[in-house]
Symmetry: C2
Amino acid sequence: MYRTHNCGELRMEHIGQEVTLSGWVQRSRDKGFMMWTDLRDRYGITQLLFNEEKSSKELFETARSLGREDVVKITGVVIERVSKNDKIPTGSIEIEVTALEVLNKSKVPPFTIEDDSDGGDELRMKYRYLDIRRNPVKEKLMFRSNLAIETRKYLASQNFVEVETPVLIKSTPEGARDFVVPSRMNQGQFYALPQSPQTFKQILMVAGMDRYFQIVKCFRDEDLRADRQPEFTQIDCEMAFVTQEEILNTFEGLTKYLFKTTIGVELPDFPRMQYDEAMRRFGSDKPDLRFGMEFCELNDIAQNKGFSVFDNSELVVGICVEGIAEQYSNKDIKKLTEWMQRPQIGAKGLVYVKCNADGTFKSSVGKFFDDAALAEWAQKMGAKAGDMLFVLSGETDKTRKQLNELRLEMGRRLGLMKEGDFKPLWVVDFPLLEWDEELERFHAMHHPFTSPKKEEVERMLNGDHETMKRLKADAYDLVINGSEIGGGSIRIHDRELQSKNFKLLGFTPEEAEAQFGFLLGAFEYGAPPHGGIAFGFDRLCAVMNGSSSIRDFIAFPKNNQGRDMMIDAPSVIHQEQLDELGIGVIEMDVEA
Amino acid sequence: MYRTHNCGELRMEHIGQEVTLSGWVQRSRDKGFMMWTDLRDRYGITQLLFNEEKSSKELFETARSLGREDVVKITGVVIERVSKNDKIPTGSIEIEVTALEVLNKSKVPPFTIEDDSDGGDELRMKYRYLDIRRNPVKEKLMFRSNLAIETRKYLASQNFVEVETPVLIKSTPEGARDFVVPSRMNQGQFYALPQSPQTFKQILMVAGMDRYFQIVKCFRDEDLRADRQPEFTQIDCEMAFVTQEEILNTFEGLTKYLFKTTIGVELPDFPRMQYDEAMRRFGSDKPDLRFGMEFCELNDIAQNKGFSVFDNSELVVGICVEGIAEQYSNKDIKKLTEWMQRPQIGAKGLVYVKCNADGTFKSSVGKFFDDAALAEWAQKMGAKAGDMLFVLSGETDKTRKQLNELRLEMGRRLGLMKEGDFKPLWVVDFPLLEWDEELERFHAMHHPFTSPKKEEVERMLNGDHETMKRLKADAYDLVINGSEIGGGSIRIHDRELQSKNFKLLGFTPEEAEAQFGFLLGAFEYGAPPHGGIAFGFDRLCAVMNGSSSIRDFIAFPKNNQGRDMMIDAPSVIHQEQLDELGIGVIEMDVEA
């Protein structure tokens, strides 16, 4: 037996007991004839005492030879510490060691196993097994495990059945790219890894499963932005015979339950906001409601005053940033303007108005607008002395997006995104379709299975092109602190309507049949009304912990090149494997 | 709102209430002015009453037009049934319908949605969404969901943390074939899908996670025998600082808990049997202990009596089958002998001895053995009058395997594999290595990470070839009713020993480094002693339900050609997809 207790559980009540512990050597303090060593495992740290006078010479010498991260097993007696440490739960006791066995030696680790490590990202990913020994990483993985358990507990209590859907499915090259898997038994054919179990969960509704969920890996072969992973995890859910209202209530219930049980936060009822309103007030379909700084449209008072930039713009819109007028120098404003003009944001310029303490105004457009005019802006935007207004103008959608970036940046600078403050929001009534001006085609705003609102069905089946652009869907996102945590919709359950939607999205009937024939077929055998939602599980973990990176919550993440640095994957495979699969690697142009 | 209640919950106490239900039309009985329709959902069946006299003509006509599997929503009043049906929980009430809405029509399904369907396997797999509506299929999936929940509940209570390991990993072409996934961002390189998370769970032990589990999909590109699937699910577990004894106790605890909570069966303590003993007594490393019919070796009394077949055999071994002597005609024996001679089993012949009621014997080897000699056999095998002995001879391992098949067949024929009877068994002390005479190389009996027993380590590091053949491992299988439910081992946690094992298994140092360098490296940074187990989750579901097929417990299984009949996968993919991945399909020889 390697241990009678773990390194986190011994207390005053154990004093006098002989115990056996195993774990890793965290650090030692050698005082000559006495030596203290911290022994660590997942559960905590226990202090070991080696006393030269009371133990054998060999034992003391072995103790003295221990290095960081060596694995040892000790036996000893629990004694009370002379100087207690109230920062750790075992801080009142220590173990006077009577036997010591080195189970495995460790080389000196390439970075320190401390809460704040000195290891860089790449090094920590390569030695992920050392990184996970660090408390902050370990605790994130344990949080994730606990969050999954609570999710299952809640959904099971609500009659949801967890059903495993297949990982080897069919390629449906819509939206993001599929990972594909060559079939050895069906040569020349490929499976695909699911981007989501969407069609399967709908099939389960047709199958009468009524309430389905799954915590499930999904896969997207996308170019990886900072915080994307080729494999990620969803809480995937679907319900039959439900309205949007019932879905929102069910998953608001889940979210509240998770916050309460895992981080002790009681969330209030979630407000709801229409997509159009979110875009108008925040320029984003996932507004961070931890702070205000709402958009204020100025067309009526700022246009036709002789400033042609505004006059020629579809939208003039601004935000009021409280109390920064005196802090922001011309240089600061210049830098902020340049920040807004970077290609990632693409603003042409940035108009500012300082509301001075004496009631006057200082503005980059003072030439065109006198104090009376600017006072009108300030009043409309609710600005007081000391506040500063930023105004953008241009094409509506673009301008809103740009101002959203500025609003978020100012929120960050002013510390308005407070950790521990959670502001959930349902964004509802998304458009069904998105018109792509460049490709001259519709994309599905959500996905091709999303239903238009009931009152739109007739217009969708019979309307003209312009009507299609304005169709609203029973689609909704759950947003917390500016992150999209979940998204879903009521689905189409009617073959004719689904075929119409495929057609609008540019599928020929043959393509629709080849890719989704099974679903269209299923709709003819008694498909119930149904809808659902999927939560980004990695993202939920991150948001609940106030972390901006999902990677921290994944045990073995991949880097931005999609590589696992620890196992060094992907890798070349044997020619025999390729031969068996009937595929070959195409030689790349050396220039490529 | 589609419903106030589901179709399984209304009782006498609801009488007089107005309710709304939604579901599928199971069947209707039309009595002219009255019509009864069974409405079905996941939760049960509720009888609807349409009364021509009390309802509008349209409603009654619509009701009369309903076909099987149409989806409807009804509103009505709960009334007491005149003739109650005590076979269903809702059998005391019915709904007098006042409003009826057809939500979706259904075509006539290709097979009946009844407990005993008339659909063949292929048809039911193609229309899996209809098959799942059937109670036996639906209940199996719900059982699986519940079993997963209870598994997680138990393991969490034992301090196990569920950690998701990656699905896109590295190909390590050992044993079964890997499915591979071409990488677009790293062209010419491939991920592989995990055959198990083996190395990752060991890495998690090195990482200090202490107790890991995961209910996880695994993948093997094997030629599919009747009851294999290319993707299957494991309960995968690993523990640090443990002995084999602690692992067996932990997972015996899990198994008992699962049987108790999901099917109400209290299992006794699990007996343990050494591998060698299991082979000797049952000719199998997964003996079905629901019945005896143990092997009895006869070398000492059956050899050197002039029967050269026996004399030239390494082993003479038989079983005693109770009470069948009089039933088995010469023709029956001939057919049984032919059954044993099929290539799948490959016995050369089958010796029988009938123990007649009058104390005489009738045997196929009566020429060589007189009644006194056969009486000696009968005595050794514990046979009584009316019993029949079957004896095989030949090379030890082959003969045992053949006799195992015969034992199981006789058990089946005599109904000794009783449903609801569960006989768990730990088989322990497996050999570490298996010598392949043909390829003249060792295979790992379990897998390359299995540790020899502690007392064998020295011999393994320094022993000769013959020593290697006899090494025993700390490896164990959990067997229930002749099915291997789980298997595991204590793992090697020492770099030198692991390298030695790779060498024995035919890896060059370079190959070992390329494939498992990360693990060998991890062993140098303080790897703790560890071990674990993996349960076949699909198999566990099947065995607990007395089912012989895992396919019944998989929502969307693949057929023997690895195809999903419903979605028709795998399939050809677009040339652009191949181009993006930098791979090509090799044209097959038309003869192939």
